[in-house]
Symmetry: C2
Subunit: 365 residues, 2 copies
């Protein structure tokens, strides 16, 4: 079972050699070309469809399902090049896993209170660099920077962050949590590559900057919300302020992080404290607008167990407790030519297991 059946049909942008970019959906290990369906589906990126709003999204999905059901020709994935499925407007990143936030505090700031004082009052987030959001498979050049006072060189503590990204279709501001599905088109897997040595030196008081701006990888597939079953959100104590209520839907997504082919962690998205609906409500609560193509990521997904953490900082306790890969080698942080692949599974509206695809990248010197 690949998880790419009729109950999934994630959208992507592909091209054949010397051909133009076209919208497609993934079916098994192939792509179905949607350009013949016309309208927004004939575009070269998802943005026009995403801008059209929920009613059009549902109509497009019905048209796609009918098309795929009719048995159209398919193009094997190995014959196509996959591109960024949408043009990224603003990129923001949250910090909404309590386990991750506690782990990071404990590892990097021993003796500090576990969570920042506002952590359970609002979903902490920051803006990232949209220019460097790249599609899965793009090589990740090891960043350089000030790895310590007076020392400029290649990062020695290059890390990953396994996240889920939400893609805004319809623009808006002051978006209530109950309007989440009117504005968010779908989700994608994200790896927010992070240079921990750059981060430790640069981040006070304005937050991470060059430690994360060199690359953020996303899956080539955007799974529409229409495909996804929802679950009850996690309990929240204290109760959030009214603008963050109700918490909105949550998603039972199950990620797997593979390091050079060895599964090292299985982060459970259902353990996130803040929901994607609350993140969007917070992001727009001050009057800020979101646009078509905005990408906001969940923050590193970490569950309570060591082998459920979404970063190697947590998995290896800042390299103090390396992990052993299948080839017998040990790793603290990323070595050159290492490949990290984050994949995900979800449940469809009918309850069947579907795939979120994967996002991968190889570190080059």
């Amino acid at each position: 079972m690949t998880g790419f059946g009729l109950d999934n049909l994630p959208y992507g942008v592909f091209s054949l050699p010397r051909g133009p970019r076209r919208l497609g959906v993934r079916l098994g290990s192939a792509v179905v070309d949607l350009s013949g369906l016309g309208g927004h589906l004939a575009a070269a990126s998802l943005n026009p469809l995403m801008a059209a709003g929920r009613r059009e999204w549902t109509a497009a999905r019905e048209a796609v399902v009918a098309h795929v059901t009719a048995g159209p020709p398919v193009i094997p994935l190995r014959d196509v090049t996959l591109h960024l499925p949408f043009e990224v407007a603003d990129y923001t990143d949250f910090y909404s896993s309590e386990h991750h936030a506690r782990n990071v505090s404990e590892i990097l700031r021993p003796g500090s209170p576990g969570l920042p004082p506002q952590w359970k009052h609002l979903p902490i987030g920051y803006h990232g660099r949209s220019a460097t959001v790249v599609v899965s498979g793009t090589p990740i050049r090891r960043p350089s920077g000030q790895i310590a006072e007076g020392v400029f060189g290649p990062s020695r503590r290059l890390d990953v962050e396994a996240e889920v990204g939400f893609v805004v279709g319809k623009p808006g501001r002051r978006i209530a949590t109950t309007d989440f599905a009117e504005h968010v088109f779908g989700l994608t897997l994200v790896n927010d590559w992070s240079a921990r040595d750059l981060q430790a030196w640069e981040y006070r008081p304005l937050g991470p900057f060059l430690a994360k701006s060199f690359a953020t990888s996303v899956s080539p597939w955007v799974v529409p919300l229409d495909a996804l079953g929802v679950v009850a959100p996690p309990p929240q104590d204290p109760a959030p302020l009214p603008y963050l209520r109700p918490a909105g839907p949550a998603f039972d997504l199950r990620l797997t992080v593979e390091w050079n082919g060895t599964p090292v962690s299985r982060p459970p998205f259902a353990s996130m404290y803040w929901t994607a609906a609350q993140q969007l409500a917070h992001l727009t609560s001050n009057g800020a607008s979101v646009r078509t193509g905005d990408l906001y990521a969940s923050g590193t997904v970490s569950g309570p167990a060591r082998d459920e953490t979404g970063s190697f900082l947590e998995l290896t306790r800042n390299a103090a407790e390396p992990v052993k890969l299948a080839d017998g080698t040990l790793r603290g942080f990323l070595a050159n030519v290492d490949t990290v692949r984050i994949s995900g599974r979800a449940f469809s509206t009918a309850g069947g297991e579907i795939s979120l695809g994967s996002v991968s990248g190889t570190v080059v010197p």
Copy 2:
């Protein structure tokens, strides 16, 4: 003297009622339409010209000077609408005034060491929201947010930050300070509106987010580097790492902040510690790319004296020492219907005084 003569000619985008957007240059209190010159000058934004690179910028300026010298028809400013002169790609903001950084530490974190430990080793910066960069004159709706634990409401400590913004034309990465003028097209005035109460509660550990994402105003005019005289950069001790050397050109810009028409401060840009060339070199030092339309701001410009500070947080010591405006009223932070106008003067390549125009905004409830 308006400072908008032949030695200045800043670029902007204007429209006549029901007319299309066109490129123009400012001459006195009028606009000269450039669309008849064709090529990149016939576009509806500066981006195509900016993408073309330094040689084209110089050629375009020569063509514009020749055109203006020939005595073309001019359109009074009062007859046109001015728009954002370029499409903003990524927006980043630095923190490069030592006086500002020390003042902020002293006011908000009394007893803390004046500067963060890395402050003199690298130009601290962060990413902001490009969707909410707006042109001068756009009303600024007072943001709401968590102004304290458990309290959501309109910000009570709404502030300004007087800054200078640099606009990237030619894309690049790992840009040496000596290549600054190959990549940066020009500069513009920036007001990075800031809600201090939101900021104080939200900013640890990932930096400012909603406190600044609701609006950033820019002047409608981009002054090309070709128009600007340069001065020696400020002394830096300790010597920066090699990737930040030489410091590159500095600019003797003189800002004025008016609060409801009362001049309250004159921030001197020449007092900035880090140069714009160093900021760009740092921003791209990790391998991150910049694109046409990237805007990076200097950080609040504050000189050593109280009436040279670029924020009201500093000017009024966090409202503890209000300023008196010309109408006799006192202000700590911004009241509704207050208007702030930041204007600037500079020196041309020939040494004459020229204007940077102004950026203004009125706070609405």
